[in-house]
Symmetry: C2
Subunit: 271 residues, 2 copies
């Protein structure tokens, strides 16, 4: 089949046949090619579309991803990769390598656990946005993952082909530093050992799995926070958080993860 | 000017004039339009190209951004927006709204300070990558920003049109919780007051400015870490960090930001 001039112009999305083509640039011609393609020249607002995921497949992918791009990338890409495969654009435009930076509590600083940082980004990508209502809904899911993490004996997922067997520990904190220190104390392994690294691979898988389960519930309209703040933390917040007498701090975490020394407990005013 | 069939086909990137057009789809036609456009169908690997920025303009944009999308978005978008304007693709495809999630130490949890989380992502976007050498180089810049943050009286940048005047404080930590608590103690303002929010706006500007200055130095091949770990933290690490006798934790931070109680100091073994 030989295409006519009219056919060619039609294929190029040019409606006004025979008029106004002087100075038409390649980029302009490209912009004119179909609404679908035009959309792909602009990144859409959050939240991006979500399709329910297989949590166990996500966990296995996260474990693999950990050994490629560390904890934060491991969780994030385990959620994003199947969405990229199923949905395509805009996930094809997500530079997931950016999430590598969450490694070891961001750039190996051992601040916020990378698996949680990656989970937060994945959750926000598919549920969040600039709008306050979107932020609030997304933050509820994220806070639940954070509180589950600090209250649960982890890792609670065993990869199908692990390098070592790994024991569980409770972090009581969302911080890499605390989480690693607690596990080292429980396991007797060193903080830069291969076993500790493997533990963080399992943990990445566990966080990715719980995140996928949470997102699946949210997609079904069935999400509710399963891990509220501990009674002890609520007691602290009653004097220190928003709307309290002192209102001199902010936190959604178990305070005992850092305020743990005997003098802290002895010297603190009775309440 | 009226374009000939040959001109139209040339503009559509179709070299083989008069042959093989049967069944040509719009997406195929689009893919054929120039190498530049073809590249835009795939997101490039990190690091993305960087052009030196005006640190003061970045600071002002970050302050504005804080009141739109909070601390993490404020820093990140203040770096990315001018690059999007100057360079275009791939920055046109970066969903910067994703960075909103860093708000208040991620989803208002008060963990890692959002301005630092946003700075880390911006730095990694333009200097990092999956490769270990890229990670190491990028992490040095990020760690320097983190240590500058915790050792410096901040905010050290005053926006041109502030809502309130703001006093400085030293956080001694990279955590939102600690940074906010220290500032509340110094200023006597409450943790959810408008003044505290304004302080975090100034802080967002200050972090963005220091980040842009660091990236400019890196672009000139003149970056070196300006804020090493404190002597006190180095002493702690000598027994607890990688390669030490205990090797039972990890951290690149001033330990005293959390381990601050008298009993901690009294009960710790002499070294």
């Amino acid at each position: 089949m030989r295409l006519s001039r009219r056919d060619l112009m039609k294929k190029a999305g040019m409606a006004a046949v025979g008029t106004g083509f002087a100075g038409l640039s390649l980029s302009m011609a490209n912009k004119a090619i179909g609404a679908g393609q035009e959309q792909q020249n602009k990144i859409p607002d959050l939240p991006w579309p979500y399709k329910k995921l297989d949590p166990e497949a996500v966990a296995e992918a996260a474990y693999e991803g950990y050994y490629k791009g560390a904890c934060s990338y491991g969780v994030f890409e385990a959620i994003v990769a199947p969405l990229r495969k199923e949905i395509g654009f805009p996930y094809t435009m997500m530079p997931s390598t950016l999430l590598v930076v969450g490694q070891g509590g961001v750039a190996d600083v051992a601040s916020l656990c990378g698996s949680l940082n990656g989970a937060a980004s994945a959750i926000f990508l598919v549920t969040g946005g600039m709008d306050k209502k979107l932020r609030d809904a997304s933050y509820s899911i994220i806070q639940d993952v954070f509180l589950w993490y600090e209250q649960t004996a982890l890792p609670d997922y065993r990869p199908k082909s692990p390098k070592y067997e790994i024991i569980k520990s409770v972090s009581g904190s969302n911080l890499c530093h605390v989480s690693v220190s607690k596990w080292c104390k429980a396991s007797k392994f060193k903080s830069f050992s291969k076993e500790r690294s493997e533990r963080c691979g399992w943990l990445t898988a566990a966080v990715a799995k719980y995140t996928a389960e949470s997102l699946n519930k949210y997609a079904d309209g069935a999400f509710k926070m399963a891990y509220p703040l501990s009674a002890a933390a609520k007691a602290c917040r009653s004097c220190h958080d928003k709307g309290s007498k002192l209102e001199n701090t902010r936190a959604v975490t178990d305070c005992g993860g850092c305020h743990f020394t005997p003098s802290m407990k002895q010297e603190h005013p009775k309440f």
